[in-house]
């Protein structure tokens, strides 16, 4: 069972993602900050990380850098309310960029594709 780490500072979204992704048959862990994400990754390597960008403390882009330092092979999906970061080159390290939407179809599809190609 593929293991997904969801990093988002919005508690409602964490609940939504863990339920929806669990329904898809994934093992979902949710954390609320970049720092916690680092801790989690250091403990156990996830198969994929869904990373919010705008967060208190360490933001998603810094977290992305840290993750790359720990393990370059972990696929990361940036999931944010802004489409504007798309053109920011620091986001290029991520495997995908999905704009947040209540319709999770795109996110689920992206996860499926990345896991398949891994």
């Amino acid at each position: 069972m593929a293991r997904i780490l969801v990093v988002d500072d919005d508690s409602s979204l964490r609940i939504l993602y863990s339920k929806e992704l669990a329904d898809e048959g994934y093992d979902v862990e949710t954390v609320s900050s970049g720092r916690e994400a680092m801790d989690s990754i250091s403990g156990k390597r996830p198969d994929i990380v869904v990373l919010d960008i705008k967060m208190e403390g360490m933001d998603g882009l810094s977290a992305l850098n840290e993750i790359m330092k720990i393990d370059k092979t972990i696929p990361v999906i940036l999931n944010t309310a802004y489409s504007t970061f798309k053109s920011d080159f620091t986001t290029w390290n991520a495997d995908a960029y999905v704009v947040k939407s209540s319709d999770l179809t795109e996110l689920k599809e992206t996860i499926r594709q990345i896991l398949q190609s891994a």
Binding site: L13, A81, K100, S101, S102
Partner: protein
């Protein structure tokens, strides 16, 4: 008694009387001369008590007179001589008075008329006819100016019959002069005004007289050098120069055309005395006339200046200058040419009294060549005989005469003003333009040059100002939009997350609800509404960060067809029609196809929302010289005027579900493309959005939206977007 016992001094005659005259004279019984009198008498003898020429004061013979005829004959002689002296006295006094009056007559015409009336009045010098010539120093010629007297014998009787009523005394002479000419004067004046004697050849009788002083010609027919004077059909005449300050300024010619009498010594002396005295008066009146004309010119110039300086519109200015210069100079037409600032070529800018067709005729080619000369040399040209200019400038045949002056600003010649074909009040005078005309036109040209430069400056200023205003408006919009974008991105974060959660859970719940659950419909509403909110957020964020366009050579028609195909389904759902009428030969445009598609989508979506069931949308493309125009017309209800003005302002929406950003985004994108977008909406004709995109090379586009087409765009934009 001098003469044949006539007792008539003004008609003092020599023996020679022509046969003609004898026929109209009949002896009458003159009380004074107490015997037959051969004075001229009208046919109607009954109305005369005595010969008209005999002095007043004579009466019927009284009884004592009859008793002592010799004594009384002597007495009568004494009385006659006494009267004669009185008469001379009176005439000299009259002359003096005339001189006084003449000094204060004011205008030249009246002055001259008083003088000639004095020459011809039986109460003063008593010539039959008098002609006045004035010296034109500028043109070195003598010109006939005025005549007084009958032109035929019949007129003479007519005049003399009324003489008692019209000219009893000096006041009558003067008031007659003020009233204008008598019968015959007009005809004679017309004759004399046609006479022009060029000086310097020395062979003319009048020219000789100017130097010699008064000359009596007894037999004009025998003279070889009468030339121009022959039209006057002169009898024995006297010619005397009018002199002032020892310098001749003109001539008076007088004869006894009707009575045929050779001017007597007294007549000649009186005329000489008069001519010697009135010179100053004529000189003064001429000067007054000049001053009056200058004042008039000055006031015309002031008016013109006021007129041309008060308008700042270049075209109006140019037309005004050409019209006024022709009218004031009394000419047929005028052509104003200006040097083009860019090319340096002299081009026609305004015409008056000449058709555009004539402007390209050979005759104008010649005139243009003159204008170019004037521009080059900076010196005015006055041509009164265009024939002499023909050798070097063929094609000028159609111009009788012309003046061309340069328009100069400082040292620089900025154009030329040509006035051609002087119109003369009197058909006979055809001297063309004079030095006065040239002087006036030169001054006018100076004023015109200032006005033209002002208008040009103002025009530039207006263009610059319009550009600045546009830039200012855009800056305001940009600032507002930037602030808005900043706000949006913050708000979006705060709203998007909860929105995602709401919608996400709604979808999640939906999946688990049985298909017949009555709450499904409500869940669907939640999902639909969150979708809409998300879409608005996306649009706002898109607006907050419009990425710079990537221009590529694209076929606009193709972009339109791709966009309209997206709407096919929506259009048919509304039973509407979406038609395209695209110009087949449009050139490729440097545009960002994705962004342009966004513009088209936004406009089409609005159009689709506004039309009713079965409505119609029409998309057209067309090309003009500098631009490609794309029109989106729909037959929906009109947009109110106040809304029309705020159409492209962010958040100005009338649609219940609209974000108010669609057209604002469209405006931004079109602005980035250096184009314009404009909306027109009227009851009955529906609403049309018109996009104008420049046909520019890529290099030109980099100059930004304020380029040479900005003037066109500004005109279109004014009053549209606040």
């Amino acid at each position: 008694m001098p003469g044949a016992g006539t007792g008539s001094i003004p008609m003092d005659t020599e023996a020679g009387k022509d046969q003609d005259l004898a026929a109209v004279k009949k002896p009458i019984k003159c009380i004074l001369s107490d015997g037959p009198c051969d004075h001229l008498a009208p046919a109607d003898e009954a109305s005369w008590e005595r010969c008209w020429a005999c002095p007043s004061g004579a009466g019927l013979l009284t009884a004592p007179e009859r008793a002592n005829p010799e004594l009384f004959r002597i007495l009568r002689e004494v009385r006659t001589r006494n009267w004669q002296l009185e008469s001379w006295n009176r005439r000299i006094g009259l002359l003096l008075e005339v001189l006084n009056l003449v000094q204060s007559a004011g205008d030249l015409e009246t002055t001259l008329r008083i003088i000639l009336n004095c020459v011809t009045s039986g109460y003063s010098i008593g010539f039959n006819r008098a002609f006045l010539f004035l010296l034109d120093e500028e043109k070195a010629c003598l010109r006939g100016r005025l005549a007084v007297g009958p032109s035929t014998r019949e007129e003479a009787y007519e005049i003399w019959r009324n003489i008692e009523e019209t000219a009893r005394n000096l006041e009558d002479i003067v008031s007659a002069a003020r009233l204008g000419g008598r019968l015959g004067d007009g005809e004679l004046t017309r004759l004399v005004a046609g006479i022009r004697i060029d000086l310097g050849r020395g062979d003319s009788l009048l020219e000789q007289c100017l130097g010699k002083g008064e000359t009596v010609i007894r037999d004009p027919a025998s003279l070889p050098n009468l030339d121009a004077l022959s039209v006057l059909n002169l009898h024995a005449f006297v010619c005397t120069p009018i002199v002032t300050a020892g310098r001749p300024i003109g001539l008076i010619v007088a004869d006894n055309f009707i009575t045929g009498e050779v001017p007597g010594e007294e007549q000649v002396n009186l005329l000489k005395a008069l001519a010697g005295q009135v010179g100053q008066a004529i000189a003064n009146a001429t000067r007054n006339e000049d001053i009056r004309r200058w004042l008039q010119e000055l006031s015309t110039l002031t008016e013109v200046s006021k007129g041309i300086l008060s308008t700042t519109d270049l075209e109006t200015d140019l037309c005004l200058v050409s019209r006024i210069s022709a009218q004031v100079l009394n000419a047929k037409g005028a052509v104003l040419r200006l040097v083009d600032d860019d090319t340096g070529a002299l081009g026609c800018k305004a015409i008056y009294g000449i058709s555009i067709g004539e402007m390209v005729s050979p005759s104008e080619e010649g005139a243009r060549a003159i204008a170019e000369d004037v521009l080059k040399t900076g010196r005015a040209v006055l041509l009164n005989d265009t024939g002499s200019y023909l050798a070097s400038n063929p094609g000028l045949e159609r111009r009788k005469n012309l003046i061309c002056v340069p328009l100069t600003k400082g040292e620089k010649a900025i154009g030329t003003l040509t006035v051609f074909d002087k119109i003369h009040a009197e058909a006979l005078a055809e001297d063309g333009f004079g030095a006065d005309d040239l002087r006036f036109l030169t001054v006018l040209a100076g004023q015109a040059a200032i006005a033209i430069e002002n208008a040009k400056l103002f025009d530039n200023l207006r263009k610059t100002e319009a550009g600045l205003q546009e830039l200012h408006r855009h800056l305001l919009r940009s600032e507002r939009l930037a602030a808005l974008g900043e706000l949006s991105s913050q708000v979006a974060h705060e709203i998007r997350n909860p929105l995602t959660a709401i919608g996400g859970f709604a979808r999640s719940i939906m999946k688990q609800l049985p298909s017949d659950d009555s709450n499904r419909a409500y869940m669907e509403i939640i999902i639909k509404e969150t979708d809409r909110l998300e879409r608005i957020l996306t649009e706002q964020l898109c607006f907050a960060k419009l990425s710079p366009p990537e221009f590529k050579m694209e076929d606009v028609n193709k972009v339109i067809t791709e966009t309209t195909s997206l709407f096919a389904e929506k259009v048919s759902a509304k039973k509407a029609r979406l038609e395209t009428r695209l110009a087949p030969d449009l050139p490729g445009l440097h545009i960002d196809a994705d962004k342009m598609k966004q513009v088209f989508i936004n406009i089409l979506q609005n159009a689709l929302d506004s039309i009713g069931e079965g409505g119609k949308i029409e998309v057209t493309t067309s090309r003009s010289e500098w631009t490609v125009e794309i029109g989106f017309a729909n037959d929906g209800p009109p947009i109110p005027q106040e809304m029309l003005e705020r159409l492209f302002v962010p958040f100005a929406t009338t649609k219940a579900g609209g974000s108010g950003l669609g057209l604002a985004i469209a405006y931004e994108i079109i602005y980035e493309h250096g184009g314009t977008i404009d909306a027109r909406s009227e009851q009955g004709t529906g609403t049309t959005f018109l996009i104008t995109l420049p046909l520019a090379t890529e290099g030109e586009r980099r100059r930004g939206p304020v380029d040479r087409r900005s003037a066109v765009r500004d005109r279109r934009r004014y009053g549209r977007i606040a």
